[in-house]
Structure formats: C-alpha cells, structure tokens
C-alpha cells in the first residue's frame, strides 16, 4: 500500500492519538472535560483541538492548502498562546505528528517511493511547525499591541478632549 493509502487507512487512529497528545498537555482534571464536552460553545478549547487537528491532518497528508492550514493552526495556537505554555510547548504539537505517523504506520519507509513520500510529508509538517511559530509570535505581538492601544486610548483622547493638549492638525488651516 502507498504511504497515502496507509495514512488514510490509519486516519482516525492517528488523529485520535494526536488529539490525545495535545490534550495531555493540560492538567489531568481538565483533560476529562476537554474530551467529554462536545458542544463547541461550552468547550471551545477541546472542540477547536478536535476539529482543527482533523482538518490539519487531511491538509498535510494530501491537499496541502496553505490557507486552510494557516487557519486551523491559528485557531489552535491563538488559544495556546494565552494559556500556561512555553512557546515550544504551545506549538510543539505540530512536530509531534511526525513521530506519531512513523510509529503508527509501522512500515519500512526507508526506501523507494515510500521514502520520498515520507520525506515530502515530513517537510510539510516541518513547514507547518514553522508556520505555527510565526502565528504564535503574531499572537504575542497582538497582545502587546492591544495593551498599548488600550493605554493610549485612555490617556490621549482624554487630554485632547479636556483641552489639556492641542496637537498639530493634519493640514494647516487656510490663512
């Protein structure tokens, strides 16, 4: 069977293990909830992980639609960027897929077409991991931006409207 055939064959098993692995990064008492509650509004973290890992898997093994991969990575990483994770732990789940796949399909991928396919897949996974890191950095940057915007809004407009400061207008008034 081709690598792709194997990956499709083992799809649900690999995705489940991948999901379990991501969920295992949360405290034990939280893991139960993240797995159990299926309503995406009651459990946005668990359901985002479940839904977007599935999309990511399918995109990485065959379609490789970068926009879709970015969206799904963003959904997961945006959450993990504000939770108690170090940067490596927040995005590390992407690379873990490499190990999972090798372990799960359990065939010799050391030669021929399968080897090439495997290398290509691993390259895609690595590219996705780098993308996840970009997204993580973007999320952190956004947080700092939002903090600055809040602080600026509080002080700046106040001074202006209370006539405590008058800035240079955009255009000189016509004299």
């Amino acid at each position: 069977m081709s690598l792709n055939g194997l990956l499709l064959d083992k799809r649900s098993s690999i995705i489940k293990k991948w999901r379990d692995l991501v969920i295992s990064t949360y405290p034990i008492d939280t893991q139960r909830f993240l797995k159990r509650e299926k309503d995406r509004f009651s459990n946005p973290v668990g359901q985002t992980i479940a839904e977007d890992l599935e999309i990511l898997y399918d995109q990485l093994i065959k379609d490789n639609d970068i926009d879709q991969i970015s969206r799904s990575l963003d959904n997961i990483v945006r959450i993990r960027a504000v939770q108690d994770f170090k940067p490596s732990a927040a995005v590390g789940f992407v690379l873990a897929l490499k190990r999972l796949i090798r372990k799960e399909i359990g065939v010799d991928t050391g030669q021929g077409e399968t080897k090439d396919d495997m290398e290509a897949l691993e390259e895609r996974i690595e590219a996705a991991a780098l993308l996840a890191f970009d997204i993580y950095a973007g999320c952190k940057k956004k947080l700092y931006e939002l903090r600055v915007i809040e602080a600026t809004n509080q002080v700046s407009s106040l001074l202006e409207r209370a006539n405590l400061k008058v800035e240079i207008p955009e255009f000189d008034p016509v004299l």
Partner: protein, 540 residues
C-alpha cells in the same frame, strides 16, 4: 431563571468529589500576564483601608501585617456571623461539580483551580479547619487545611481570577452564589492590604473626586461640551444638556467610562440626543459632575467601601431635589443599585416612585431604589410610540447582542434590550442559546480585572464569549456586538481585537441615537462615529 431541581434530581447527584487529587499540594504560581499589580500604598491609604504599602505580588515577601493569621481568623468569624449566606455556602456544597465547567476562566485557561467548585474549595478548606469539628480533628481527610502564607497566596491568585459573573451559580443545584464567595474572599484579602491597583486606584479616585479616573467637574463639563459639538456636526442639532441643575425632575447617573473612553463616548452622545429629543415631550433631566460615576469598584473590595462610594447617588439626588434617578448602561453598577443600594443607603424616602414623564408608565420594579435603567426607560418609549426611528440608518451594521452578566443574571433584563435593538436596526442575529440570556458568557474582564498587565488572563476569560461572536460573524456576517454595560464597551474591543477583529462594539443607545429622527435635523450623512451612513458613502 434556572429551573429549580426536583428532589429526585437532587438525590441523583453523585457525591464523589470530582476534585483534583492532591490539589492541596500544588501551590499557586504568580505568572506575568495573569496577575494584576498590587494596590499602591497611596491609594489604599487614601480610603483608610488596612496595611497600605507598596508591594509586588511577584516578590516572595508580601509585607503582611505580623498578626495576619489572627486578622483572617477574626475576619472570617465576623463574616460567618454577619452573612448567613456565606456560612450556608461554606457548608452546603456537596462538590457535585455541576459548576465546574461553566466558568469562562476554566473553559479558557484549562486551569482546574478555576473550576468554581475548586475556587470555593480554597476558602472552604480553611473554613473547615477553623470552624468545623470534623475539619479540626480529621484535617486533610475532611478536606481541611491550615491557612499558611502559601495558601493565602493561592487565595489571592484565584480570587482575582473570578469576575463575579455568577454563570456557575446558575447551574448549582443548591443555588450557591459563587460571586458572593469571591466577594467574601476579596474582603478577607483586603483586610491584609492584598488588593490590586486597578481596583484600589479607582476606589481612591471615586472616593475623593467622584469617578474612577479622578476627572474633576470642569473636565467632565468639557467632555460633555465636546459631545455637544460632535452631535451638532453629525445631526445639525445643538443639544443643551443640564449639569448639576437643582429642581430637575430626574437625575441622570452613568458610568464615567461612557464619558471618557471610546466607544462608550458614542453611547454618551446617544443619551444626550435622546434627552434632547424628549425635552419637547416634557423630559426634565440633569447630569451631575458630582455623581459622575455609576460604576462602583468599591464593590470589589468590601461592602463598606461599596456602600460609601454608592452613597453619592442618593446624596446628589437629595441635594438637587430631583424626584427619581435614571441610570445609564452599566453592568456591576446595576448589581449594586438593584440589590444593595436600598438597604445600604436607603430608604430614599425623599424620592418618588419613578414614573416616565413621557408615557406615564410607573416603573414598579424600581419602587424601592427609585432608580431606573435607561434600557427599560427607552423600551417603554418605543412601546408607546414616542420615538420616530429610522432603523435603516444602522443598515451598515449586522448586530448581535451580548447580555452583560449583571443586567441579565442579576436583573433579568433579557427582553428590553432586544426589543430596543430590533426597533433601531434591521439586521439582528442571536448568538447560540447556551451563550446568551441567563447563560451569557462574561466579557472576561469584569470585577476590576480590566487592567493591562493581566492581558493573557483577560483573553482566556474572554474566549467563550468571543468564540460565540466568531460563530455569528462567520455564519451571518455579524460586524457589531451591542451591549448595555460600560465595562463591556471598554474591554470587549480588546478581547474581540484578539479573537475576532472583524467585529466592533457598541452601546445600544448609540444605535438608538443614530436611528432617532429629529424634527428639523439636517440630512445625516454619517453616524456618530463619523462613518458614512448606508447609501451616503459618496458624500464624504
């Protein structure tokens, strides 16, 4: 309201504790991005609260008073005697876990100590050790533990990761009000000077100057004047608001956030326009530069402080000689007004039962407090056909509505805001049922947690709300989240800025004013934000 559970349902509750095993041995971590800065000495001292000193929660030494254990001991005893609800809530929880996954902070953070049952357990465990026989004798086996400095730090960490939104209480089969446990816990921490500066600062300012930011009366007036000019630019109408006018029939009190921070300022302009519109119909209303804060951050420190800050509303009503008070769009202000003001600072027997001078409607729900929420006032106006409205002016908006915790769960304002919104805009879509009305998700930054340094905490807490907003944005193209709370207007733009940047935030009365058709107004080309009205894009 939540269905009251039947006895047979209660009997089915599994009494096996769902709590983390070994949780007592996991100390709290004070992490940047999650905690708020400690209250500054000057702010704590300004209102005479205990143990004023500059301190840093990230330091090992919190500079506690020497006899801190005794202070907590007496403080707890005092409150258990004084508030029967507190004693009841300490005793009756069976740790069924119904509340566990209902908290926005737990859902967003995944930290099990944010399960409401766990957060309460932090206090209960100490209560058992100090005040129950089983706890004293059996200790850990009975879920009891000694209060140590480490435990105290854990209290502080998690008590300031609760927004007192009461969503968890809705699901508690015993009706335990978790917010009240947090309120009590925060009172205890305040006895040791363990407050956060985002609360302590506004409290000190509010006590002296009358509002959170310490804005003095002349600056308040300048802001109102600025709004008057802005309104004239948009509508051609020059509104003439009154400030501190004795003999007016109604006093208007609103959170200062509406007067000083965008996008609340547009809501403030909305109030001004509505009042001007109603003048010809007999509205006789004044703003006040003294009762210049509807919000009450004292409520996040102690009952005594909340009472003290609240007192200015009745005091100003009395000084001006008004008949009743109208209040602006706010959340926790209304929890205080609706549920505490009458007993703290009432009875306001110098005021009259509020009656709308326009429609004659008696606001019987406000018979005790003599204070009416503006959303109820406006809904009544619309119902009695007293407003000429052109909802198509809001056609650029695809709107959803966020029920603010305090007005929905605390007051039951579920229909009034929706009724007003549907009359002033044509595109309205609800978020999923388990995220609105009584089950609404908190903004994630309430109860004084809207500081800047705890941004990650706020984003975690804001996730469940934003997640539902994202859903209606993707499904219906929603681009505007409306609300009737000033704190929501201050913090949701930030939360949505992170989670769903395509959606902006508005107060309901901003939309009312945009739709309101005045006699003799010029043709409007923009809304209050200066954005072109639908069909007027070329006029710019």
């Amino acid at each position: 309201m939540a269905d009251t559970p039947k006895p047979e349902e209660l009997s089915k509750i599994d009494h096996a504790p769902p709590l983390m095993e070994g949780w007592m041995d996991v100390p709290a971590e004070i992490r940047p991005g999650i905690y708020c800065y400690g209250g500054k000495a000057k702010n704590v001292a300004a209102v005479g609260m205990p143990n004023p000193r500059d301190w840093n929660p990230a330091d090992d030494d919190w500079k506690l008073p020497e006899n801190w254990e005794q202070i907590i001991d007496e403080g707890m005893r005092d409150r258990l005697d004084k508030y029967r609800s507190f004693k009841l809530f300490m005793d009756i929880c069976v740790r069924c876990g119904a509340c566990a996954d209902k908290c926005h902070f737990f859902i967003g953070s995944g930290d099990p100590k944010n399960m409401p049952v766990m957060r309460a357990e932090l206090l209960r465990s100490v209560y058992r050790k100090k005040f129950t026989a089983a706890g004293k004798i059996l200790g850990k086996i009975a879920g009891a533990r000694k209060l140590t400095e480490e435990v105290l730090k854990e209290w502080w960490t998690y008590l300031y990761q609760c927004t007192e939104c009461r969503r968890c209480s809705l699901f508690c089969p015993y009706g335990i009000d978790m917010a009240e446990i947090t309120i009590m816990g925060r009172e205890l921490t305040n006895l040791l000077g363990l407050n956060i500066d985002w609360i302590a600062g506004p409290v000190a300012n509010c006590n002296r100057t009358g509002n959170h930011l310490g804005i003095q009366p002349h600056a308040y007036k300048d802001m109102i004047d600025f709004f008057v000019d802005e309104i004239e630019e948009v509508s051609g109408i020059r509104v003439e608001p009154d400030l501190n006018r004795k003999g007016a029939e109604i006093l208007f009190v609103t959170p200062s956030g509406d007067v000083f921070a965008d996008p609340g300022t547009y809501t403030a302009m909305g109030y001004l326009m509505l009042f001007h519109y109603l003048k010809a119909q007999g509205l006789d209303i004044t703003w006040s530069t003294y009762a210049s804060e509807g919000g009450n951050f004292g409520f996040f420190t102690s009952h005594e402080m909340a009472k003290r800050l609240n007192a200015k509303m009745y005091a100003e009503a009395k000084r001006l000689g008004v008949k009743w008070i109208l209040g602006g769009e706010c959340g926790h202000m209304w929890r205080v007004v609706h549920q505490y003001m009458n007993t703290w600072n009432g009875p306001a027997d110098f005021l009259e039962e509020p009656v709308s001078p326009i429609t004659g409607t008696k606001f019987e729900t406000a018979t005790g407090t003599k204070m009416v929420h503006i959303i109820e006032f406006t809904a009544d106006l619309i119902r009695n056909n007293r407003l000429k409205l052109d909802p198509s002016r809001n056609d650029n908006l695809i709107v959803t509505y966020h029920d603010s915790c305090n007005t929905s769960r605390g007051m039951g304002f579920l229909e009034e805001p929706r009724y007003v919104i549907k009359n002033v805009c044509n595109n309205f879509y609800e978020m999923p049922p388990n995220t609105i009305r009584e089950q609404t998700f908190c903004c994630g930054s309430g109860s004084g947690l809207n500081a800047g340094e705890d941004m990650e905490l706020r984003m975690r807490g804001g996730l469940p709300r934003a997640n539902a907003v994202k859903h209606v944005h993707e499904k219906y193209g929603v681009n505007m989240l409306s609300c009737i709370c000033a704190l929501d207007r201050a913090v949701l733009p930030t939360s949505l800025g992170y989670w769903v940047p395509e959606v902006a935030v508005t107060g309901v009365h901003e939309m009312v004013a945009n739709a309101l058709v005045f006699d003799g107004e010029k043709e409007r080309t923009t809304n209050l934000r200066g954005e072109p009205l639908p069909g007027m894009e070329d006029e710019e």
